[in-house]
């Protein structure tokens, strides 16, 4: 496999001690395009003191770190604004992904860059929540009726809401997987085990196993290739963090069967071993044997994901990376919608829906 400095650094940090300036240059640029600069910085700093890391790379780690610190402070503030808007109606809100990692104080939040705030409410509360958010300045970003229908019917979220003054974006979900999806997780079950956030009344985050399973569902059900490696690393860190509880692997596997997410979890563990060389996941794989996809399917998935995890950065991407990303896009849609609706939808999106990018104005 073509050398991938970025993944090498995560698998075996001491490898970076042999790196030339050119190697560092590729790794930093790759990390930047994969949204992993802060993660790479934190990972290396936990293994070496700054004196072993070249100054040219350190300043980019510092740059990413500056943004993460401010982002984390800002997201707590944004969460409080959301709670302020919804608390009068006493609607509990479950925060997901990046915002949840910050609220739960997970070590992962110290290096994870994210932009939108993801939150989940019960489906029946959705109209009221949308109304309250709109009254407080978070307005819908897309008015196309097709897109609105698509989001609400086939996805598990409302189209993104952007705050009129601040420009911050909320992704409002009512489930963690689409309603019609092959992998479906019952929201009610997730809510039963959710954990209240100290100091922020009305805010919740998912329980430990569910945090992992949400990250897993997000990685293997969504078609987004850009953050695939980052999401895989998140899953790894989450499992390692919760491992301090007794036999987390068993609890995680059991919960995955209960939520219907055992196959995606199997894939996660499989790629943690295959790509990140984490032999410690083999125990988890054993628990999930029944959920493994069939041999042929796995060969295809391996071909796709090997390319997707290596990323699209020009000098390090594997041959066929673009096709792999497209295959992922198709697969995600296939998982989401029945075939008789999938084809017209894809036609619309890929052929009609093309819009040229806006030119950046200085």
């Amino acid at each position: 496999m073509r050398a991938d400095r970025l993944i090498d650094a995560f698998i075996c940090p001491t490898a970076v001690l042999e790196w030339t300036k050119a190697d560092w240059s590729v790794a930093v640029r790759q990390a930047r395009s994969a949204n992993l600069l802060a993660a790479l910085g934190k990972h290396l700093e936990s293994h070496f003191t700054a004196v072993h890391l070249p100054e040219v790379a350190l300043r980019y780690f510092q740059s990413a770190n500056n943004l993460v610190l401010q982002r984390n402070a800002a997201v707590i503030w944004e969460v409080d604004q959301v709670l302020g808007a919804l608390n009068s109606r006493q609607i509990p809100v479950t925060f997901l992904k990046g915002a949840a990692y910050v609220l739960a104080g997970l070590p992962l939040s110290a290096h994870r860059h994210f932009s939108d705030v993801d939150l989940m409410v019960n489906r029946e509360d959705l109209p009221e929540v949308e109304k309250q958010l709109m009254l407080n300045g978070w307005l819908p970003t897309c008015f196309d009726s097709y897109d609105q229908r698509y989001y609400r019917k086939w996805m598990h979220e409302v189209p993104p809401l952007r705050h009129i003054r601040r420009g911050t974006v909320l992704d409002l979900h009512h489930a963690i997987t689409p309603l019609t999806a092959k992998y479906q997780a019952n929201t009610a079950q997730l809510i039963v085990t959710q954990v209240p956030v100290e100091g922020h009344k009305g805010a919740y985050v998912l329980g430990p196993t569910d945090m992992v399973l949400h990250a897993v569902a997000h990685l293997f059900a969504e078609g987004e290739a850009e953050n695939a490696l980052r999401n895989l690393l998140d899953i790894s860190e989450l499992i390692d963090y919760y491992q301090s509880e007794t036999d987390f692997d068993a609890a995680l596997a059991e919960r995955s069967f209960m939520l219907g997410l055992s196959q995606p979890l199997y894939l996660a563990a499989h790629y943690l071993v295959r790509r990140l060389k984490q032999d410690r996941r083999k125990c988890l794989l054993k628990y999930l044997k029944l959920a493994a996809p069939n041999g042929v399917a796995l060969v295809f998935l391996d071909a796709i994901y090997d390319r997707v995890f290596q990323g699209g950065y020009p000098t390090t991407a594997l041959r066929g990376a673009r096709s792999a990303r497209f295959a992922l896009y198709l697969r995600a849609h296939w998982l989401r919608m029945p075939i008789h609706l999938l084809l017209p939808h894809l036609f619309r999106k890929l052929i009609i829906g093309y819009r040229p990018r806006r030119l950046w104005n200085k």
Binding site: Q70, A73, A74, W77, E78, R165, R166
Partner: protein, 90 residues
């Protein structure tokens, strides 16, 4: 009693002029019209800067002229309107 709303930062320059900044919205206001003698810094944590605005009987403005209570009140009301300051009953 008035407090600077949590999260806002306050900075005073050598010439006496003050600034308030909300790092989450990017809002930035010069407080050059607020009499400096009103502003007494009251501890400073890393995450927020709570500043106590206190009504002082002999409040003066930057040129040393006495400032009436009504002027002070209207300045503070404007800051409450902007969300920079929270009014708390004594």
């Amino acid at each position: 009693m008035f407090w600077i709303t949590k999260g806002w930062r306050f900075r005073q320059f050598a010439d006496g002029q003050g600034l308030v900044f909300n790092p989450f919205t990017g809002d930035l206001y010069a407080l050059s019209e607020i009499p400096v003698s009103l502003i007494i810094a009251f501890g400073d944590t890393a995450a927020s800067c709570d500043v106590l605005f206190r009504r002082v009987a002999d409040t003066v403005d930057l040129d040393g002229e006495p400032v009436g209570e009504e002027t002070v009140k209207s300045h503070l009301a404007a800051l409450v309107q902007l969300g920079v300051v929270t009014s708390v009953s004594p």
